[in-house]
């Protein structure tokens, strides 16, 4: 039986050039389906990677109870001072608690690619902010001077948005700023932010002494429980306390799922179209070789071998389409920088990430299209009337 199947499969595969146009169209349509699916998955996983790669287990993020994001949180300077005295908070060499009160406002930026406006986060930070971000480095220029209108800008902003080049003066709202440095946190979400001194933001945006979030270095990841217990026992501290890792993981989930939930139905809709193409190609394959198939069966080949050969042809075309689609997405998009709206209504810059798992999913979808497209033609091949041997 194996020899029969191998012979019929060889005949089928070698006959593909006889239907080059139809076969090519099927391969192309399946490649497109896989490209759309992998494109969305690459976007989703790239976004998740950026968000989930952000944050440390030994940094606590504190927001007002019930506020899911920094944008709708508000904390007083008194609360900030109380947290500085909490147990479990790490201190530097000078015995100063490593805590940063931060204020987060939205400003407009112009996207380089589309020249359209998009929201960018302008973060006012305390002196400890830089040491609270793992891998923080100034890659060009210097850091801002406290109390001045100087900014430092994340690498992602420089890549995706115009007007933030080093030394440039830029107007954000009614205020002018000078870009004095470019920083990197190794591709985390902070690379999509603009930073300056907290007190300058408080003054310019009339926020008094309030902050929106508090970040604090913990003596250990487990120390977060001590901080929580401390906050729960003090009625003045009305706080949600999470580790930075957990905070960004929860922020990533919604947007990544939204991207996936948009991409998967679109890919499935396109796959149904490609299925019709594959079905048509394979039907044509069986129809044009009706006499050949009948001859093989007259010689004694089984209907199963004829069906199997047809199915292998269908799967081969679909598999080829899948590989082309996956290779296309990888070459065109993998590592390409893009930005999208994060949960704080500001742009998060991330890189498309084509993962091995998404390639497996894409190829799986292609093979499903090939299987479904080939199954009825395969049954037809198995039941070709033997009298078709006499067709001229």
């Amino acid at each position: 039986m194996f020899d029969q199947i191998a012979a019929v499969t060889l005949i089928n595969l070698r006959s593909i050039p006889q239907r080059a146009l139809l076969s090519g169209a099927t391969v192309f349509s399946i490649a497109l389906v896989v490209m759309v699916l992998l494109g969305f998955l690459a976007m989703s996983s790239g976004f998740s990677k950026t968000m989930q790669g952000t944050g440390s287990a030994d940094v606590a993020v504190m927001l007002r109870t019930g506020s899911q994001t920094e944008l709708n949180s508000g904390l007083s300077v008194d609360q900030l001072r109380l947290i500085e005295e909490a147990p479990g908070i790490a201190r530097d060499a000078n015995d100063i608690p490593i805590v940063s009160g931060e204020l987060f406002v939205i400003v407009d930026g112009i996207k380089r690619a589309s020249q359209t406006e998009a929201n960018l986060p302008l973060r006012g930070v305390g002196p400890a902010a830089q040491s609270l971000r793992q891998g923080f480095t100034i890659v060009e220029g210097r850091t801002y001077e406290a109390g001045t209108n100087e900014l430092i800008v994340g690498e992602g902003i420089i890549r995706e948005f115009a007007g933030f080049d080093l030394g440039q003066t830029i107007r954000l709202g009614s205020n002018e700023w000078v870009v004095v440095g470019i920083f990197s946190t190794g591709g985390t979400v902070f690379d999509s932010e603009i930073w300056t001194d907290l007190t300058v933001i408080q003054n310019l945006y009339q926020r008094g002494t309030s902050v929106q979030s508090i970040r604090a270095r913990l003596t250990s990841p487990e120390a977060i429980e001590e901080v929580r217990a401390y906050a729960e026992n003090d009625p003045r501290l009305n706080l949600d306390i999470q580790s930075e890792v957990d905070y960004f993981a929860s922020q990533a989930g919604g947007t990544a799922m939204l991207i996936t939930y948009l991409g998967v139905p679109l890919s499935i809709a396109m796959a149904i179209g490609a299925l019709a193409g594959a079905w048509n190609t394979m039907y044509s394959s069986v129809d044009t070789r009706m006499r050949e198939i009948a001859t093989l069966r007259a010689i004694g080949f089984s209907g199963f071998a004829a069906a199997f050969g047809t199915m292998v042809e269908s799967l081969a075309l679909a598999g080829l389409g899948g590989l082309i689609g996956a290779a296309g997405v990888y070459l065109l998009f993998n590592g390409v920088s893009a930005s999208t709206l994060g949960s704080s209504f500001t742009q998060v810059v991330f890189s498309f990430a084509v993962t091995p798992m998404s390639v497996v999913l894409g190829l799986g979808l292609a093979l499903i299209v090939g299987f479904l497209g080939g199954i009825i033609p395969a049954i037809r091949a198995a039941t070709v009337p033997l009298l078709a041997v006499h067709r001229s």
Binding site: Q4, A7, I11, R14, E292, T295, I299, H390
Partner: protein, 230 residues
């Protein structure tokens, strides 16, 4: 000579819409082993249908087709396929070669249904191609060959598994006279030297002369030569 086929009260018909069409009715005949029969007759007389029934690629409406004690009209599709592989070689008017395979690969196809090793298969293929005079064209594809050569490849394919009977449907119908004569001489050789039973459907009286005997089928029954002369 012993009987190879025994056909008893064989009828074959089909319906077209509400109309029942009879191809032949109550046909009884025997074909002996080693015979070379030319079945002749006008178009629509049932020649090819009879060949299909003998080859087990069609089933009778009623009656029986017995081949050396095997009622082939009663076999299941799977068993019939195995019976065809072991007992019958087909030669068609349009050769029915696989255009994407070369001559040797085409000839090897029936051997893929046997338990022969790859080496044994290659030897059998070489012998079959040698018998039909195409040993030097083994690697050529059908489109690189003339019609006569393609038909000889088809003959090699038909004999490679050493079947008892060769069923030929207008084997020279698509060939010029010279190529046709070469094919018919080859068939005659296979009958005389290798003892193959050959049943050939043809329109061509000069082709029929290569056979040991001629049968004339007209309106579903065999007619005698005298009757035919009238």
């Amino acid at each position: 000579m012993t009987d190879l086929y025994q056909l008893t009260d064989l009828s074959k018909g089909y319906t077209r819409g509400r109309e029942a069409i009879t191809i032949f009715e109550q046909l009884t005949m025997s074909i002996q082993e080693g015979d070379f029969i030319a079945i002749m007759g006008p178009s629509g007389s049932g020649k090819t249908t009879l060949l299909n029934l003998l080859g087990g690629i069609d089933r009778p409406s009623s009656g029986s087709v017995d081949c050396q004690g095997v009622r082939i009209d009663k076999l299941s599709q799977g068993k019939l396929a195995k019976w065809r592989a072991a007992n019958v070689g087909f030669i068609f008017q349009f050769y029915n070669l696989m255009p994407t395979l070369n001559a040797a690969q085409n000839v090897e196809l029936p051997l893929l249904l046997t338990n022969l090793s790859g080496k044994a298969r290659k030897e059998r293929v070489a012998t079959a191609l040698d018998i039909v005079g195409l040993a030097d064209r083994a690697r050529h594809s059908p489109r690189q060959m003339s019609g006569g050569q393609q038909q000889r490849v088809a003959i090699a394919r038909a004999i490679v598994a050493d079947p008892k009977v060769l069923l030929c449907d207008e084997p020279t119908g698509d060939l010029d006279r010279k190529s046709a004569d070469e094919i018919l001489e080859t068939l005659q050789l296979l009958n005389k030297d290798l003892g193959k039973t050959i049943i050939m459907v043809t329109h061509d009286p000069s082709a029929a002369k290569y056979a040991r005997r001629e049968l004339h089928l007209d309106k579903g029954r065999f007619v005698e030569a005298a009757e035919l002369a009238q």
